[in-house]
């Protein structure tokens, strides 16, 4: 089939800003986006720049934005893209500076991964003497808990897809936090509390907006956002309850337990009452909401049969 592919070309070092260049090429029907790029590089324009290695969705080198979606070029079929979007447009990953064409400077990503100390740490006195006699045994449940996050191939598709990273460069992002959970969940690691405490700060697990972009983008089903949710749960269970994020969850549960529904009039109140500055900042909004009949009463009768809901919630809380 004869196709058109638009490639975002740029060479910042030589002052060439980004622009789309369109190539028309004859390709076999089931060709991948990566093989199309390789064909173009070999046969048409040797200067087209991109990373690639395994061509089999194992190495994670060829992640890019394909019709806006961050993913691996080697496991994306050209035909599928044309069918879905009617066109094929490739761009470098987001949130990292472009070096040339589709190749980005990966340093911002590695900085984030490094920041979570992504290795298991055991107290020196408990380090087994070398050579170790036998492997550390784990039960299957512990392995299952780490299974998703262990599958990460560091392709950076999730970091590129992350919507908080669109607006905040401090956020560690999905891959790094998934890696953090990989270690927190590891029974051999002895720095769990320290790790959870460090990530309880700005840029850590509470900054995720749970948009699911990373879960959708990940070619290996790592589910980074689920790992972030697990970190939050571990943090609350470990007593790290001093954040707005933590209060949001626990107050939400209390309100639903009492009324059966979330009372949106009570929720923000719980969040701002402890913070007079915040309280003042939301007052004008509250007045405006009242004017539009959008301010629910903080006291609301519970739903019928609310006792059933309370029973469910109390049972699981044990």
């Amino acid at each position: 089939m004869r196709i058109e592919i638009e490639i975002e070309r740029s060479n910042p070092a030589e002052g060439q800003p980004a622009r789309f260049e369109t190539f028309r090429v004859e390709v076999p029907r089931h060709i991948t986006v990566l093989d199309t790029l390789i064909k173009l590089k070999n046969e048409v324009d040797g200067s087209i720049t991109f990373r690639r290695s395994c061509r089999s969705a194992i190495c994670g080198s060829c992640a890019m934005r394909i019709n806006g979606r961050s993913g691996l070029a080697c496991d994306t079929l050209v035909e599928d893209e044309l069918h879905r979007f009617g066109h094929l447009r490739v761009q470098p990953l987001a949130h990292m500076p472009v070096m040339r064409d589709l190749a980005v400077d990966m340093q911002p990503f590695w900085n984030r991964v490094e920041a979570v100390n992504p290795w298991v740490e055991t107290a020196p006195e408990r380090e087994p003497a070398w050579p170790v006699e036998r492997e550390t045994l784990m039960d299957q449940a512990a392995v299952d808990e780490m299974d998703d996050t262990s599958k990460c191939i560091m392709c950076m598709a999730c970091f590129s897809a992350c919507e908080v990273s669109d607006v905040d460069t401090r956020f560690l992002g999905p891959a790094a936090l998934a890696k953090a959970y990989r270690v927190v969940a590891d029974p051999r690691d002895e720095r769990k509390q320290e790790r959870l405490t460090a990530l309880n700060e700005v840029g850590g697990y509470w900054d995720c907006t749970r948009c699911n972009q990373c879960v959708q983008a990940c070619p290996k089903d790592v589910k980074p956002m689920e790992a972030i949710v697990h970190l939050r749960r571990e943090a609350i269970n470990a007593g790290l309850t001093n954040t707005a994020g933590s209060r949001h969850i626990t107050e939400f549960i209390k309100i639903v337990r009492s009324e059966g529904r979330l009372n949106e009039g009570r929720m923000p109140l719980k969040m701002v009452l402890s913070d007079p500055k915040k309280l003042l900042s939301v007052l004008p909004l509250a007045v405006d909401m009242l004017r539009h009949g959008k301010l629910p009463s903080p006291i609301h009768p519970p739903i019928p049969r609310v006792k059933e809901v309370r029973r469910i919630m109390d049972k699981k809380a044990k």
Binding site: C208, C211, G245, H248, V256, K294, L295, M313
Partner: protein, 293 residues
Amino acid sequence: MKLKYAYYTGCAAKGVCPELDQATQAVARALDIELIELTAASCCGAGVIGELEYDTQLAMNARNLAMAEQLGLNMMTICGTCQGVISRANVALQHTATRDRINQGLIGNGGIYKGTTGVLHLLWVLVKEFGLARLEQAVTHPLTGLRVGPFYGCYILRPSEYLGFDDPYNPRSLEGVIRALGAEPVDYSGRTKCCGFPIVLENESNAMKMVGAHLLEAKGNGADCLVTPCPLCHMNLDLYQGKAEQEMHRKIGLPILHLPQLVGLALGLGPEALGLRRNMVDAMQLAADVGAT
């Protein structure tokens, strides 16, 4: 055959967004869709309860689904977030072992869940069960010339493995509805993005940057208003729009309609019937512009 659903309003339509419930009921009457409200249904957990207590959230939704099942009806939601959470719960509850475990906690309540209820958002009902051709025929006041930006919200699209309706990267259902109403859909990249609502109480600045970016992009591409199937997106885009304007140092003034409000305008329902007065960013002028009185 007359369409009939177990109507799950969710919390927002009973709290901050009563206009969503009101407009849904008005549109359902106009389209002869029968809604049996699940008045004893609880919050779906919104993914928030599940962050700490996954099984509790699952059990609450098993209870909600069981109520629809006992009526022999599929459930209709009007909130993208409820749809995402309940869809996902329903997928999990198809596994016999999970369902049996969760049902243990429901014994003594209104009944256990057998796993037979379907869950459809109003948007999906309109596209899949009512049909866009029929909707087009029902239109009495085509919204000719109105340029509408669709804003899907996260949970009605992602993770798509639990939802199985729209393509998460190139959804078409809202565009289909907008066209059926005689209006014109506006393309912009923010249509599939996050409104930032889940972090608005924790990190307002980030949330407002997200809102601001999407609104300005849509407006720049010519949108007269946005339409959303999620009241939580509606809160962030509409109720917080003034804060987003402060964050972006720009006046935006883009009306945000709930899905049934837009549909209702094309069915000739007046602003009062659709609760348009409650929208924080003025939508009355827009209603007047399309001839609604």
